[in-house]
Symmetry: C2
Subunit: 248 residues, 2 copies
């Protein structure tokens, strides 16, 4: 009886249990969260003064420690496999660029994790680092809920694919937009970056950009700022052209 | 045809392929290594000047980076689960004690990993840190060969179980041997630590200790030094007595 009670009360798929939090989390994660308690804790700020049945504080700070470690090892494995020529020093340097405080803050901000924070102080008192801290705590919660492989998939999808561009991190490419513009000027082609979606006024900012070269739409991209969406669209155009060049 | 050729040439279970290295490695790991190349690399010192088909150096230094990251996250997860009362600062401090250079050197030395090293300089020129470096590289090789969960099992068996005693790391218990002696003196009981096996002259040192209290053998332990074996036997006796006390 206790078993069934536990199953039902823990089943986040029941709307009364997880509600909107479950729906939105599920969408953002790309998989079903099994134990919502881990995620609730990942968004509980210490100012909420929550404690568990033994009087221990419940907030995301311990999860930050766990998530930081998981992030470090997933990125280490990614770089190890991706850059077979990089020595230990190179790998260490590249990893610290990827998991820098600045980068993690950007990640957390783009995912708008702060909307889920439970706290007793208002959001403007948090400071910049809360975005990165929440991102780390979320990774920790994923590890506890679903294990290392889900952690790895999530980090691949949310960190590696959108952010980890090794050429750019190495400083070889500063901006894909400037490469595209340079190429258009050299090839005497017109180009245009057009915002075709902008819901920047809502909670989570969101822009969609269409890049037209020589009158033809060559790529589209969405991001949380116009600048980032332009850069993403440029990168896509750049790689599309590279492929064409290589096929010749 | 190529497929079968690859299967057979890579099967380390065939004695001509893996030989003694496979047998010994299998025994030490506690599972079957699938791709011996990862482990061969984990024991290749840079002085061997090996390169792959593309001219890139083949040695264990990149694997050290990977193993260090895996070790960090496995120990983080262990501490997170084991010490629910520890805050972020506590967890960080405890982890750095466990994965300290000194500790890793001890681990590598106890496993006698150096016997597998392929190098062009003689072993006495390596310095102390090679033991820990080889241990990290081995963990990296396990990750590449069998994934995170095997890494976790190996670290549990070789690091956590024999070495991670949280009370001791916290400085609450300095030595179980002294606790046992103190207790015997208080209870007016005779005690004796006896070495009953000693093959310290062979490659891998090995001692077995029998602890007798009040004329009765209460525990036995093996380790790579007499001192460690005595401490292990004392710890076992201590926990056995604790259980008895709690049962009363």
């Amino acid at each position: 009886m206790g078993f069934f009670k536990k199953i039902f009360s823990k089943n986040p798929r029941l709307p009364q249990e997880g509600g909107i939090f479950f729906e939105e989390l599920n969408k953002m994660l790309g998989f079903v969260p099994l134990d919502l308690d881990h995620y609730r804790r990942a968004f509980t700020h210490r100012s909420s003064n929550k404690v568990d049945e033994n009087g221990h504080p419940v907030n995301y700070e311990r999860l930050e420690f766990l998530g930081d470690a998981m992030l470090g090892s997933v990125i280490a494995a990614h770089l190890f496999k991706q850059v077979p020529t990089g020595d230990e020093g190179y790998l260490t340097k590249m990893r610290s660029k990827i998991v820098s405080r600045e980068h993690l803050n950007e990640l957390g901000r783009d995912l708008n994790l702060i909307k889920w924070v439970e706290s007793k102080v208002s959001a403007q008192h948090f400071g910049e680092n809360i975005h990165g801290n929440l991102f780390e705590a979320l990774v920790g919660a994923i590890y506890l809920d679903r294990g290392f492989e889900y952690c790895e998939k999530f980090i691949q999808k949310k960190v590696v694919q959108p952010y980890v561009d090794i050429a750019k991190l190495e400083g070889k490419v500063i901006s894909y937009k400037s490469l595209v513009i340079e190429w258009c000027q050299k090839e005497k082609k017109t180009f245009n970056y057009e915002v075709y979606e902008d819901n920047g006024k809502e909670g989570q900012k969101h822009f969609a950009i269409k890049l037209t070269i020589g009158g033809r739409v060559v790529s589209r991209a969405r991001a949380t700022s116009k600048k980032k969406a332009e850069e993403k669209a440029s990168q896509r155009a750049f790689f599309a052209f590279q492929e064409k060049i290589n096929k010749k």
